[in-house]
């Protein structure tokens, strides 16, 4: 069964969500991954949305983190403080974040491209809830296409903390201990972080992708796990559920080629 890169990333992301855990997601791919996980590996995954939705039965892909789908037949329709405080209290296992730039410590830029904050070359949305979720949730995941413009030596702006400058830096800054980047899932590979250095490390490479390809599409120097596997591709069942039940209108999985 063939699949596109978005379908691949969604399936891989879903597998990383443990059952009975809690995840805060946004719209798009991450939400699709959480929905797929609920229908496969994690039937009791609780999905939270930062505007207040808690444990909805999602009838379709939400367009906004605050639209009525995000609390459709929910366990609770709450508020932004309630969701953020649940994170700050330490009860939320996962979040997914995106951004225009990532560095080797998993720091994320979603604020601006350029060097002058008062007159940026490109103004992007900013933190939204990203800084909050990346600071407070236990494990932060990123799903993104892989290229050298995105995986950069230095972010123009660090919107959301990854491991900042390396081991101990989050704690020194005052962020909750034990939190931080967990996985980066791209169209080329799956990466985690090396425990000792807190640097991004390739764990598995997708079928048909070469190591060289990954190196060329990454501006910084990557680490490589001792054993690098080939990524297990999406199963037929995963794809079927994703296409028929999670995103039947091709809203998200139609985006990638």
């Amino acid at each position: 069964m063939s699949f596109n890169s978005m379908e691949l990333m969604i399936c891989l992301a879903a597998r990383n969500l443990e059952d009975n855990s809690i995840v805060v997601v946004g719209t798009g791919g991450p939400c699709a991954a959480a929905m797929l996980a609920q229908k496969t590996v994690a039937p009791n995954l609780n999905i939270l949305f930062e505007a207040g939705g808690l444990g909805p039965e999602l009838p379709s892909m939400p367009i906004s983190v605050g639209d009525s789908r995000t609390f459709h037949r929910a366990i609770a329709a709450t508020s932004m403080p309630e969701i953020m405080e649940t994170c700050q209290r330490g009860m939320v296992d996962y979040t997914f974040l995106g951004g225009a730039q990532l560095d080797m410590y998993g720091n994320i830029n979603s604020t601006m491209i350029g060097t002058d904050h008062s007159k940026p070359k490109v103004r992007m949305p900013g933190s939204g809830g990203a800084n909050d979720l990346g600071s407070l949730c236990w494990k932060t995941m990123v799903m993104t296409v892989h290229n050298a413009k995105r995986f950069v030596k230095k972010c123009d702006f660090i919107t959301t903390p990854g491991y900042l400058t390396g081991p101990g830096a989050r704690e020194a800054a005052g962020l909750p201990p034990g939190t931080g980047p967990f996985k980066v899932i791209t169209d080329l590979c799956v990466m985690g972080y090396d425990k000792d250095t807190c640097r991004m490390q390739v764990e598995s490479i997708h079928h048909g992708v070469t190591k060289q390809q990954i190196i060329e599409n990454t501006e910084f120097e990557l680490l490589w796990a001792k054993e690098i596997k080939e990524t297990a591709p999406p199963t037929e069942l995963e794809l079927k559920i994703l296409r028929e039940q999670v995103d039947p209108l091709n809203y998200v999985i139609g985006r990638a080629g």
Binding site: G52, R123, M124, I158, L164, L175
Partner: protein
């Protein structure tokens, strides 16, 4: 009355002057009187050039669109804006060139829908002064203000460039020694929110998520509420544990059915994604935007005309079907 020397920081658009605000709230008329008015009059009376504005809802969900249009129509200028997931709301205000400074959580984007060119230009041109925060930061800044305390301790923003371009102080916890971000109370001059039900006095009830509106209205000096429907005061008293905004926070109440359009209103109507795309399209050139605004905002006398131009009751009927997940092909 207050002799506090509040730290001067030009990036702190609103000072966390809890004593000054106590005096303000003390002198605010707290009478439970009929506050029903028109959007036009409410904006004329309560929104002043230069005011700091907080907008309820979340991007394009439960937003006070009628008031936002009227602010543009009345050409309010130099507003400060709390960019607490400001998406379509910011797009409207940017089109009207209404604000010159912004506390940023989420701006210029419309979430999955794309980016607003006008909003981007406002920042990229250097015209709007930008100070960085996050959604939780602005939510908790409202909360501190609503609680009457000058700051809220938190564990966010630390260690990032978001912090460098922000305006908060870090403090050391007197118990644990840990470093905390002390988020300064944010007291907007004016808050505008849209709710499901209100009585003429401004007692309001909302279905579904509250987002940050409970704290926003308590934090603000003046509050304009638009409501899908006015209900008898009796109904408020019969469901008093549903009241999320008490009258004494509210200055003006306006009944605006479909008042969140083209945004979503939980249980009432889904967002009009076609019209939101029309907005994004219109922003491609200055000419097309001008034409669009002339048609939909400057050229109409009120929100009712705008709704009619966008398809009127028939369109809104379809959006209700969509909200209810009723297949409209049949």
């Amino acid at each position: 009355m207050t002799n506090l020397k509040i730290k001067d920081n030009p990036d702190l658009f609103v000072k966390p002057d809890v004593n000054g605000m106590r005096e303000y709230f003390r002198n605010k008329p707290l009478k439970m009187v009929n506050k029903v008015t028109t959007v036009k009059e409410a904006v004329e009376k309560y929104v002043k050039d230069g005011d700091y504005l907080g907008v309820g809802g979340f991007g394009a969900s439960r937003i006070p669109a009628a008031v936002l249009h009227e602010i543009v129509r009345q050409k309010k200028k130099n507003l400060g804006l709390s960019g607490h997931t400001a998406t379509h709301d910011m797009q409207i205000l940017a089109a009207g060139d209404c604000f010159n400074r912004c506390d940023i959580a989420y701006v210029v984007g419309l979430e999955a829908r794309g980016l607003s060119k006008t909003s981007r230009k406002a920042f990229e041109s250097g015209k709007v002064k930008a100070v960085e925060w996050s959604n939780a930061a602005l939510a908790w800044r409202y909360k501190a203000a609503a609680m009457g305390i000058p700051f809220m301790p938190s564990r966010i923003l630390l260690g990032t460039d978001t912090a460098k371009y922000s305006a908060f102080e870090t403090i050391t916890c007197p118990y644990t020694g840990m470093k905390l971000a002390a988020l300064p109370a944010l007291f907007p001059d004016i808050a505008i929110v849209h709710v499901h039900r209100a009585d003429v006095y401004g007692n309001c009830q909302v279905d579904g998520i509250m987002i940050s509106d409970s704290d926003l209205v308590r934090a603000s000096k003046r509050v304009i509420v638009t409501t899908e429907r006015l209900i008898p005061h009796e109904l408020i008293r019969e469901n008093s544990d549903r009241t999320v905004i008490p009258y004494f926070c509210v200055d003006a109440v306006i009944e605006v059915p479909y008042g969140s359009y083209p945004g979503n209103m939980a249980g009432e109507y889904f967002s009009d994604e076609d019209h939101l795309q029309e907005w994004l399209e219109a922003e491609k050139t200055d000419e097309s935007l001008k034409k669009f605004l002339d048609k939909y905002i400057y050229g109409v006398k009120d929100f009712n005309e705008y709704l009619y131009l966008c398809g009127g009751i028939e369109k809104l009927r379809k959006l209700r079907n969509q909200e209810y997940l009723i297949d409209t092909n049949k």
